[in-house]
């Protein structure tokens, strides 16, 4: 009877460990990390770039000896396509966890409205999940297993104006007095400008002289740019999110003589710095355009930049350096926990206080998480198109080039 109970309990343990992915034994062959990204639908291209970054990270981790604390276990990457809607994202996350019950941690899903349902699923399953999405709601739901390395959208909006003004002062010694806003009415720019309209601009002594909000896609940008030309703001918050709209407005601005030499232009979000945009819009129209982003190629990463180009096939470091860094953070957490058990990895991420290693992939060079999963001291950077390449120009400690602020 005793033997029978011992056998049953052993079977039970084995069964539990195989379904939850618990792996504490030394000499484990592999650990599974997941990437959930939109690989079809309107955001497919963004997802493909993220996948390239993820594959590069996993290859680098494995080439560096895998997870040392687990006897050099290799990382196995599983990828899920979250499609083009929140519903498909939720289904994809459920399918991912059902097909791969051994997942120790995951990364995704870029678009905040996709990350929200994905993390609902992963939270229930107790899987630690890292994201570069920045909607406040992602880490505002009391979840314990979701970690965000970007500043939240509210924080980005709050930091944007003082950062822009500091950049203008650094570049010109003066302060702009008037601002224009051209944006579509999608959630990202609406959220970004909400605080600015509600007293934020006034607080920093900025007068909003032109405010154009449109529903994408635009047919022509003439009427919008005509208003900008009439008002002639000192700088323009340029916040369309769709590539065709960005192209149309930039072409119209140039046609109306409002080139970047005359009108500094600032966008919000990494898509403004993608290689695809360069192919579609062209170097001439993008030159001088700036954008605020949570991460970009930073000072001190010069050696890494060359490796990134070879590894991902991308011509420069994009904000997907966060995706790359996320896998290294998961690896680091496993080293700390000496386990691939999702709960142990989650706890290690909460306990993490990195100032070196993977921390170099994030602005500020430190990684630690608050109880709600937000990275402490996360800050924005500003990049600018210079000679056909978007380079970080602000803050000075992260900048790889001097900012060019013209039009004053």
């Amino acid at each position: 009877m005793r033997k029978l109970l011992a056998s049953l309990s052993a079977l039970g343990l084995i069964s539990v460990s195989s379904t939850t992915g618990v792996a504490t034994a030394q000499g484990q062959e592999q650990v599974t990390m997941a990437l959930a990204m939109p690989l079809s639908g309107a955001w497919a291209r963004i997802g493909e770039v993220s996948r390239a970054a993820a594959e590069c990270a996993v290859a680098d981790i494995n080439a560096a000896g895998g997870i040392e604390a687990l006897g050099g276990a290799k990382v196995n990457l599983v990828v899920a396509d979250v499609g083009g809607s929140p519903e498909s994202a939720k289904n994809a996350a459920e399918r991912l966890l059902a097909e791969h019950p051994d997942i120790s941690g995951g990364v995704g899903a870029y678009v905040s409205s996709f990350t929200l349902p994905v993390t609902e699923v992963t939270e229930r399953a107790g899987i630690p999940w890292l994201t570069l999405s920045y909607s406040d709601r992602i880490t505002g739901r009391g979840y314990k297993h979701v970690f965000m390395t970007s500043p939240t959208s509210v924080q980005q909006a709050e930091d944007a104006l003082p950062t822009i003004l500091a950049l203008a002062k650094q570049a010109t010694g003066g302060k702009p007095d008037t601002v224009g806003i051209v944006m579509d009415n999608t959630p990202s720019p609406v959220g970004f400008t909400e605080g600015m309209r509600d007293g934020g601009l006034e607080k920093y002594g900025l007068d909003l002289v032109v405010d154009q909000v449109f529903t994408p896609p635009l047919s022509v940008a003439g009427p919008i740019v005509q208003q900008v030309r009439s008002a002639r703001p000192d700088f323009l918050l340029f916040l369309p999110t769709a590539t065709p709209d960005i192209k149309l407005i930039l072409e119209q601005l140039t046609q109306f003589g409002l080139t970047r030499e005359r009108l500094p232009l600032i966008n919000n979000g990494g898509p403004m710095g993608t290689p695809d945009l360069l192919n579609v819009v062209g170097e001439h129209l993008l030159e001088g355009a700036m954008f605020i982003t949570a991460n970009w190629g930073l000072k001190g990463q010069e050696d890494f930049t060359e490796h990134w180009k070879e590894c991902t096939g991308l011509p420069w470091v994009t904000q997907d350096i966060s995706t790359y860094g996320h896998f290294w953070l998961l690896k680091e957490a496993m080293e700390m926990a000496k386990s691939a058990d999702p709960e142990a990895v989650t706890q290690a991420l909460h306990d993490m206080k990195l100032t070196e290693g993977p921390a170099r992939f994030f602005p500020g060079g430190t990684v630690s998480f608050a109880d709600n999963g937000r990275r402490e001291n996360a800050s924005i950077v500003i990049a600018q198109w210079q000679a056909g390449v978007p380079v970080t120009v602000f803050p000075p400690e992260s900048a790889v080039a001097e900012p060019i602020w013209t039009g004053q």
């Binding site: 154009q212 047919s219 003439g222 065709p244 192209k247």
Partner: protein
């Protein structure tokens, strides 16, 4: 300043209206002759955009006329798209159209599903073959303009975009040529006869299936040509057709189903309303105003501007 803004919006509306007009003409050509509501029309446009993108780079390269390569490419793509449409009709569309179809109502359902299927195949085929990255022609013409000084004020200038102007001229020329072809040539007469009364057309010795093939080919070619002109300032990706599909249908219905010239004016009016509305209403309502006008026209003149051909359809 108000006059300048009005003239600028009017100019934008007129230039854009011509390209919308041509897009609608392609759809109306197919519906007017065959009675087929072609859900793949916007995706034929997408194919035309990709073809022009592929061809334009190798045309007139290094010459002073290099900037005009996309226009030349669009004209070369037209016949190519005609061939694609002609063959598509011969292989697929013919199964749901023509005299052999006994029940026209059931045929309409089959046509809808078939053309929707063609649209999905084109979209997903392009996604697999070409990927989802947007692509575009970068031409100085798309951000170059003629500056016309306004006499009442030295500081005010009317900007007329060069790419849009060339596009508009081509669209008007193609539409007038098609109209002339329909009215004055033997092929045009056979198309009109097949549209008016297919049975009588057969008795008069007209090959109705062939006429339908030609009509479908022309409709496809026009879509390809329009797409080829649009790609000069609008990036292409496999799902780009969705951005134009509703405008095409609204324009065709506004002009009067099946009327070639009506479809052109339908598209033209949509663009004008879209641009002029920005002078008095928030930009966000730009597209909503199009549909308000659309609904008003349907209420007051259900047959559209040129409704005569409704009887024919």
């Amino acid at each position: 300043m108000l006059i300048e803004q009005f003239l600028q919006a009017l100019t934008s509306g007129i230039l854009l209206g011509c390209i919308y007009g041509l897009m609608c003409v392609g759809l109306a050509f197919i519906f007017g002759t065959m009675g087929v509501i072609n859900f793949a029309q916007a995706d034929f446009m997408m194919v035309g955009m990709y073809l022009v993108l592929a061809i334009a780079g190798s045309l007139l390269a290094g010459t002073a006329l290099g900037a005009f390569a996309p226009f030349l490419a669009a004209f070369l793509v037209g016949p190519l798209m005609f061939g694609i449409g002609y063959l598509l009709h011969r292989g697929l569309i013919v199964c749901t159209t023509g005299l052999r179809i006994a029940n026209q109502i059931e045929a309409h359902q089959a046509q809808l599903i078939l053309t929707l299927g063609v649209a999905l195949v084109l979209q997903n085929g392009a996604l697999i073959l070409l990927g989802s990255a947007p692509a575009s022609i970068i031409s100085p013409l798309s951000y170059a303009a003629w500056e016309i000084p306004l006499l009442y004020n030295d500081f005010n200038v009317l900007f007329v975009n060069k790419a849009h102007t060339y596009n508009a001229l081509i669209c008007v020329a193609v539409t007038l040529s098609l109209y002339w072809l329909i009215r004055n040539t033997r092929v045009g007469k056979s198309l009109r006869a097949s549209a008016d009364n297919p049975t009588a057309a057969v008795y008069m010795g007209i090959d109705v299936d062939r006429a339908h093939r030609i009509a479908f080919g022309f409709g496809t070619a026009i879509a390809g040509l329009a797409g080829g002109l649009i790609v000069l300032y609008y990036p292409v990706q496999p799902l780009v057709g969705m951005d134009f599909l509703i405008i095409m249908y609204a324009g065709v219905v506004l002009g009067g189903l099946g009327s070639l010239i009506g479809a052109f004016w339908g598209g033209f009016v949509i663009a004008l309303v879209q641009q002029l509305a920005t002078l008095v209403l928030p930009l966000q309502l730009q597209n909503a105003t199009v549909f308000i006008v659309f609904l008003l026209v349907l209420l007051l003149r259900p047959q559209g501007f040129f409704g005569r051909t409704v009887d024919r359809a």
